[in-house]
Symmetry: C2
Subunit: 217 residues, 2 copies
């Protein structure tokens, strides 16, 4: 492969710093309140410069979103593959998620807004808000992946039969809520504690008699 030219290096650096600034500003002020001026200042460039690298605000937000979420999903996929049983998989991806958000606290606000598209439900003709369409799709894909795994475990008889898609939503969004709780807290308990709580509730429920085979490490 050819070495990167100086122009390419500079270009990548610029794109990266602008996206980085965008993430920080959005995290600080929220999606709607983050202005191009804010982002430009945070990145240490002029407002106009952003438009040399991104068509408009929507593209900047969407690209920023995508870059960050790809990192998260890479981590989760790795965790997913290392583990065997469903319980191990669950434990692994929860840990990956919690750790990712400890290292990237800024990202949580973008991530939290994934759950539902901004303007929908009947009138969609409006010009602006085709907000982060591809990320929304990635989110659904994530749910489907978990649902599929759950479905397979049901086939095998490892877990009870129920609606796997519903169960997947419940698990993922329940744990996302704890991610957000952790980010908002000044001082959180170790990740392992929350991972254990979720995993044990999902596998064995809250009743006193233990139904999961495992003991504390």
């Amino acid at each position: 492969m050819p070495a990167k030219s100086k122009e390419e290096v500079v270009q990548e650096f610029r794109i990266h710093s602008i996206q980085d600034a965008a993430m920080r500003v959005i995290a600080r002020k929220g999606m709607a309140a983050a202005t191009m001026q804010d982002i430009a200042e945070e990145a240490g460039v002029a407002k106009g410069t952003i438009y040399l690298y991104f068509r408009d605000r929507d593209e900047l937000v969407e690209k920023t979103f995508e870059t960050a979420i790809n990192q998260l999903h890479k981590r989760i996929d790795e965790a997913w593959l290392t583990a065997g049983s469903f319980e191990e998989k669950l434990r692994a991806i929860l840990a990956a998620k919690f750790i990712f958000f400890r290292e990237n606290r800024e990202f949580f606000r973008l991530y939290a807004s994934l759950r539902l598209p901004e303007g929908t439900l009947s009138d969609e003709r409006r010009d602006r808000q085709r907000r982060s369409g591809s990320c929304q799709a990635q989110y659904r894909a994530r749910i489907d992946l978990m649902a599929q795994t759950l479905g397979e475990a049901m086939e095998r008889g490892d877990i009870r039969r129920m609606n796997p898609h519903r169960l997947a939503i419940f698990i993922i969004e329940g744990s996302n809520a704890l991610v957000i709780e952790r980010v908002m807290e000044d001082q959180s308990p170790p990740e392992a504690e929350d991972v254990e709580l979720i995993t044990s509730v999902i596998t064995g429920g809250i009743s006193t008699r233990k139904s999961s085979k495992r003991s504390t490490h």
Copy 2:
């Protein structure tokens, strides 16, 4: 008590129709994209008229929010009181929530945005967005209430010991996610099915061996 004067009746009617319109518009376009003009048109009044009944946009949004959420919480409280064991309580409040959102689909977008305040995490000096402060507090109170009930059940030995606050968040947000899923769907399964799924997972987990005492009615 004195009969309501004509002026009072008219005033209440106006307030109600404006709040109603606000809820529909926000549901359709999202919190940020809903303009005063939109709401006025939806309510069939002029933009200026809204300002006769609400100080500014913030107050309109907050009051609308409060009115709707009070209805929901009244339902949940009623359900809460009728039931005895924790499992029954859980089943009752889930059913109340699902039914409320079947009847008030428009409200879901306001409700979904409850989870986190708009601009926080470090710089909060900004003028505008002290968004729905009291509702945010109501939400936290809701979590605390469930956490307290869980804590008491732990004391009694009915359920395993774990962090009750964390567990409360997990249950409430997991079920909220299913509320949203239901609202977005064209055709949902009966509420009872989702209620049963959540309740059984929480009480008994997903493993094949049954740990909850109950059978299908």
